[in-house]
Amino acid sequence: MIRPLVFKELREHRWVLLMLWIAGGLALLGLSKVAKDEGSPLVAYRTMVWVFGVLSALILANRLVVSEFSGRTQLFLETLPVSRVQIIAVKWLTGAVLLGLPMAIAFAIVLHAAAEKSLLTVRFIDLIAIRSASFLLFAYALAFFIGLTGRYRHVLWGALVLTAFAMDSLTQTPVAQLAPLHVGASSMVFERFELPMTDLVITWLATAFLVAATFVLSLAAEGSLVVALSQRMSPREKVAVTVSVLAVLSLVGQMEGRKPKPAFKLHDAVIGGSATAPVAIGEADEVSDDAAKTLADRLSADLQGLRTYLSLTAIPSVTVLPEESIDADIFMRATLPNSDGVVLRAALGAERFNEDAFRTYSLEEVLDWFSHSRARQEDRLWLLDGFTQWWSTRDDSARQQQLRLRAAAAWQVLHGEGFTIQDELHHWLVAREQLGECLSNGLAWRAASLLTEQLGANRYQDLMKELFGTRLPDDGRAPFLEESVSRAWSQSGAPPLPEFADRLQAVLEHEQMQLGGQLKSIDLSHPRFSAVSMGGRVFEVHYGLGQGGTKAGAFAVRYGAIGPWATELDRESLARIDANHPGVLPNSFEQGFRIFTAIERRDSQLDCTARLGAQRWEIQ
């Protein structure tokens, strides 16, 4: 009874088996070469167990079970004088042998290769054989059982992976360190004396349970349960499964997102501010403890003031890491995958480090943290930029005057390019790209201070609370709960945005005239970029400032490639060349290459690095 069934399986799946074994042979060849650099040739066998072994278990179970039941050929077998138990047992054992045989050959080959380089004792070989066989049998028993669940097998595999992920991620349970996975861990090919008996016993019990479950399932209701499971899903089932999977994924995502992360903690730091708004400044040779403490206290006071003004329900722990390798006017925020808080980096010890600008930047990052980055959406970004500039300079007339000058300079640059204020407010990311941080912050400040004048202090505060003082859940509900800018704007009593933009433009034109003398002494020459063919499809890019002059003073050229999906360009991704006369970029570019170019210049009157213009263009 058994022989014809075995031959039938071998003949039916011979091509798949052949392909699988050829692939296994090639994999072993490749892995053996790689394993030479990994401490032991036996590492190749461990990788074979995990890759080829597990893959073979899945394929064999699929071929032996799924194809039989989904093809309904088991109905034919059942009419023959052979029992269901025999049919399932023959399939299970055939698969186990077909899995074990190539793995045993692979083991023998690897042992032969390792014999020259490693000391192979009988006990060591036994340990590897027991662990790998136990792990593979478990994987095969699991695949065989899940194969019997027919149309739900993909759902079950997905659920298993999701459960492992959820355990690992949500409960911090190291799944890879648990049996049965741990039985096949990397220690398998290094441990020479001890067997992980507890893990092995768990693996054997799990395998025995799966084998028993396989027979129970395949014999239940005279095999009709497996037959019913092998049918295709009905449209209703497909919808139910899809909805369930999405719901579970969403739930896990929510739980993952809501899992409280520990606050970022820096050991070697100067702590300042109050207990409710602590700020830590990392220790560095360039920054004295006193200076660090002063900065921490000021930042903490800013945070507490902001919390009161916007009625914020939470503020993060703020940590500042001194980083002397970055430019003095560059501030950066670190990403924290496993902890909470705002970690900023700046060249605190640099001569040109601007503490006021850094404090303003810190406030914007805190609001970004508070809003789960929703405050940085383009429709409200100019309001955020403007608010943080306005709030941090509200009692400082000297800084206000400087921001007024920056706003006038920004308008001069934009006006020269033919932009209108209304365009800029609508497409604030474009404005920021055109003007750089210094000038765009000036323009944002001017818009915010005009808005304050128009609305009055209380209504402006209410509008800012509405937009930036409400913390939304960090999930799919946020877009629905969020107050829209246009609605909040109209409810605040502000004039319609086009009208406001016209007033702002009038103010800027007026102040441009007022500050004409100062502006004239600031060189806001328009950058020039052109592509010059080097022959064929290769081009070089020439740059310069103003019309044709050869001397332009010190400036910096920023440039970078624009990817197909690039939206906002990361400042750090741009290359920089310092120059003081027209020149050529060091790279050559192929025709059709998309490039971003800008020229920036440090100006003492503006007290910042102003971007004089920028463009996205295609080399041709």
């Binding site: 009874m1 014809p4 039938k8 050929t73 034919f76 009419t79 023959l80 005279e222």
Partner: protein, 283 residues
């Protein structure tokens, strides 16, 4: 005559559906028995019980003179079975299928199998996937007959065949049965087929046996009464409309008033009368 198999008060439920509800059948050795019923009446379930593919919830199964709780492989070797929609391994040729099946039957006669393939016009070198539905049924018949079974169970073997293929299949079946004297139990919902092939017939409705006997007896006991007037119909079972059933002797004994008339019915009308009645009457 010895009994080939007997089912008595067989009950079988699938969830909420009562597939067999006290089914009783007795089939004698060497006879051709037609098992007639509508789709869903319980024919396939009864055949699957006989093959041991499913077990009854209750009732008695007797095969080859012995009462069985489980149809063992040794009993299965004495039975040939052709299912309604034969599902073969599509990659096997007819001959390879024969070789595969032969391994399970010590009585397998491969020469006879090849002869049957030729007689039934089944190309032996063609894969099962390439065979038409009718040819697959014929292949199923050849596979079922090659071990020379004592009992041949056919589950609507001609369902889905065109009339020509059906006639061919039935002709072959009749001649093979005559040749060997094998007991044949076949289910069908085609009255003409049963009338042509069967010596005895069983009518099943909603899992119950409504009639069992030879075709002539069936035609004698079910008649239409036209204008019964004021006759007492005690002892007559009303089936449907003006169709009644009674022992043949009762029909003959009853003195009918002038004007009343009895009509003999075709087997098809009788089957329809049984199939469409909704009264549950013991056969």
């Amino acid at each position: 005559m010895t009994v080939a198999f007997r089912l008595e008060n067989i009950e079988r439920r699938f969830g909420k559906v009562q597939a067999l509800d006290g089914l009783s059948i007795t089939v004698q050795q060497g006879e051709v028995y037609g098992f007639l019923g509508r789709n869903g009446a319980g024919k396939t379930t009864a055949l699957r019980v006989l093959m041991g593919i499913i077990r009854p919830d209750d009732g008695l199964v007797e095969l080859f003179g012995q009462r069985v709780k489980r149809v063992t492989p040794s009993l299965k070797r004495r039975i040939g079975y052709v299912s309604q929609e034969p599902t073969f391994y599509t990659w096997m040729t007819a001959e390879r299928l024969g070789r595969f099946v032969s391994s399970f039957y010590p009585t397998w006669d491969h020469q006879e199998f090849i002869r049957l393939l030729e007689v039934l016009d089944v190309p032996k070198d063609r894969r099962a996937a390439e065979l038409s539905g009718g040819t697959r049924s014929k292949l199923g018949l050849a596979l079922a007959l090659a071990p020379r079974p004592e009992l041949l169970l056919l589950d609507e073997p001609t369902a889905g065949l065109d009339p020509v293929a059906r006639a061919e299949f039935n002709d072959q079946l009749v001649s093979l049965q005559r040749e060997r004297g094998t007991t044949v139990f076949f289910s069908s919902h085609l009255v003409g087929e049963v009338e042509q092939l069967a010596q005895r017939v069983g009518i099943v409705q909603a899992g119950k046996t409504r009639f069992e006997g030879d075709v002539a007896a069936l035609r004698a006991c079910v008649r239409r009464i036209i204008n019964p007037q004021s006759h007492s119909l005690e002892g007559f079972e009303h089936l449907r409309g003006d169709i009644y059933r009674a022992d043949a002797s009762l029909w003959d004994r009853t003195a009918w008033l002038e004007g009343a008339e009895m009509q003999l019915l075709s087997l098809e009308d009788i089957f329809l009368a049984f199939a469409r009645t909704d009264r549950a009457v013991a056969a």
